[in-house]
């Protein structure tokens, strides 16, 4: 077996907020054509029919541009993906982003900012990690909709039929990935680290309310890294709001518009540094991923997928059409980090957030049921330690651990 896989004992997932792949990493394709980012010829129609199409432009700023928060609820994302076509045989074309943003402020010039992307040098942390380790060309949000239901896929492999932000109660047979691990025999360890109690978690209705012992804070995460005491699976959340504490000001670092993107860069670097400086670095892998695109432009059409066993009604979707969870959401940035991954790895296989519990379950528990149809068919990003390993699929493929991984002064 590959030594990287053999030594892997800890998997950490950091899930950020609301940015699309093209917006954050699309600029990288100019220097690395294997990364499927911004290419010449891409555009969205302007809301004034006489005007020229709006191309993506490298003018994204850290804060102040995406106000109001671009709509990313189900009907708006449907418009962004299908360009406003509601006919039965419609085809996704990613032509409705400008139209959707225009609907919010009726300001033509402002609506064009939804096409802006970051030049790579403005995001030194995310673009360095993407080029140093493994970047995913085809990691999609699980649902063409907002945060809560997309994050549910990362915890349960399903959203239990929800496509919105409403309360989500587990009423199905599918356990959270944390419960699967801690109730297994032999027992495994898992924890969700929220930033602090003032930021808290987005998984309230099921986990925080009933199992608060599963949670820790970001300072505890740092301490667990330092002591080499991380659980086998860790899910890390960012700070979702600007607030004051006894220790001073805590700036939101989730990168949700209109929160400062640089604060998020610092946070990603801090999580990476904590693991890299930990005695567990040779035994760890970190996935940095975004929950959904936040209404911001991406050019890749989300592919169809295995339907979930749930259906959202036409009323629930708000589009007049039911949704069988048979299409993924818009593409998001995703990067897998480990000293055993060759520099410059680009992954073209299709993933979504159901791949997170799918991978963790397969890696730590092996075969497990019941799991949602979406999770059962989701691809895994870390191969299991048992059984033969397909070298073409194994991302932790180096024979010796890298010593040239970057450091950040965060």
């Amino acid at each position: 077996m590959a030594p990287g896989l053999q030594s892997l004992k800890h998997i950490v997932v950091l899930m950020m907020e609301n940015r699309s792949f093209d917006h954050m990493l699309g600029g990288l394709s100019a220097t690395n054509p294997r990364i499927d980012g911004i290419q010449p010829g891409l555009s969205n129609p302007d809301t004034s029919p006489a005007a020229r199409p709006v191309p993506p432009q490298p003018l994204a700023d850290f804060q102040g541009q995406l106000d109001p928060d671009p709509d990313h609820h189900f009907p708006a994302v449907d418009l962004q993906i299908f360009g406003g076509d509601t006919t039965p045989n419609r085809k996704a074309n990613m032509q409705g982003f400008v139209k959707s943003y225009f609907n919010q402020r009726r300001d033509r010039k402002h609506s064009q900012k939804i096409m802006y992307y970051f030049p790579p040098e403005k995001l030194p942390v995310l673009t360095t990690l993407a080029t140093e380790f493994a970047v995913f060309n085809r990691w999609f949000a699980s649902i063409p909709g907002p945060t809560i239901c997309n994050r549910a896929f990362a915890h349960y492999g399903t959203s239990f039929g929800r496509v919105d932000m409403n309360l989500l109660y587990v009423n199905g047979p599918f356990k959270s990935i944390y419960n699967r691990l801690i109730s297994a025999q032999p027992k495994h360890t898992a924890k969700l680290y929220y930033y602090d109690t003032t930021s808290s978690t987005m998984e309230i209705t099921n986990l925080l309310q009933h199992q608060p012992e599963l949670f820790g804070t970001y300072p505890q995460f740092l301490e667990d890294c330092r002591k080499g005491a991380l659980p086998e699976y860790s899910f890390v959340e960012p700070n979702y709001n600007d607030h004051d504490t006894d220790g001073g000001e805590e700036i939101a670092n989730d990168q949700h518009p209109d929160h400062d993107v640089q604060a998020g860069e610092l946070y990603i670097a801090s999580v990476y540094n904590a693991i890299k400086k930990s005695p567990l670095w040779p035994n760890s892998a970190l996935l940095v991923v975004y929950d959904e695109h936040g209404g911001i432009y991406d050019h890749v059409v989300p592919p169809p997928c295995t339907p979930d066993k749930f259906t959202a009604s036409a009323n629930a979707t708000g589009t007049g059409m039911p949704f069988a969870f048979d299409r993924l959401g818009v593409r998001v940035p995703a990067i897998l980090i480990s000293p055993w991954i060759p520099k410059g790895t680009v992954v073209d296989r299709v993933f979504d957030h159901a791949s997170i519990p799918a991978t963790i379950t397969k890696f730590f528990l092996g075969d497990y049921s019941p799991r949602s149809p979406r999770e059962t068919t989701a691809d895994i990003f870390i191969e299991p330690q048992t059984g033969p390993v397909d070298p073409a699929r194994n991302l932790l493929s180096l024979d010796t651990m890298r010593k040239d991984c970057p450091d950040f002064d965060a």
């Binding site: 809560i148 309360l167 003032t198 600007d242 640089q262």
Partner: protein, 131 residues
Amino acid sequence: MVLIHVPRPPKGAMDPHRPVNALLQAQMQHLQDAELKLPARLQSNIYINAIKTEGEAGEYIRRVTEAIHHAHDSAAEKRARHARKRTGVIDIAAAAEDRPSRSAGRGKAKKRAKKKSIKAANKKSTRDRKG
């Protein structure tokens, strides 16, 4: 090994007076649903529809999150106390089984005392008769 410089956000980037976004609103609603199940003494008494800024939202989120932890910690403490008490009862019972039973001992002592008092009474009546 390369050291990459990470620029810090400008001072003005932080704004606790920023209006709450849809995500924070949803988070507060979820917390309110959880809060309603807490004991009344742990509830925040904050009307979430009146919360307009991130700073205010953060304060509410903190209070309910801490209250949830507190409620679970108190319940766990109580459970542990009960368990300790139960363990204590079992320990005493086990120790008692190892010793001669207290009631049996008490019975013997009673018998001994009774015998003693009968003996004394007999002695007294003999003395009286002699007297």
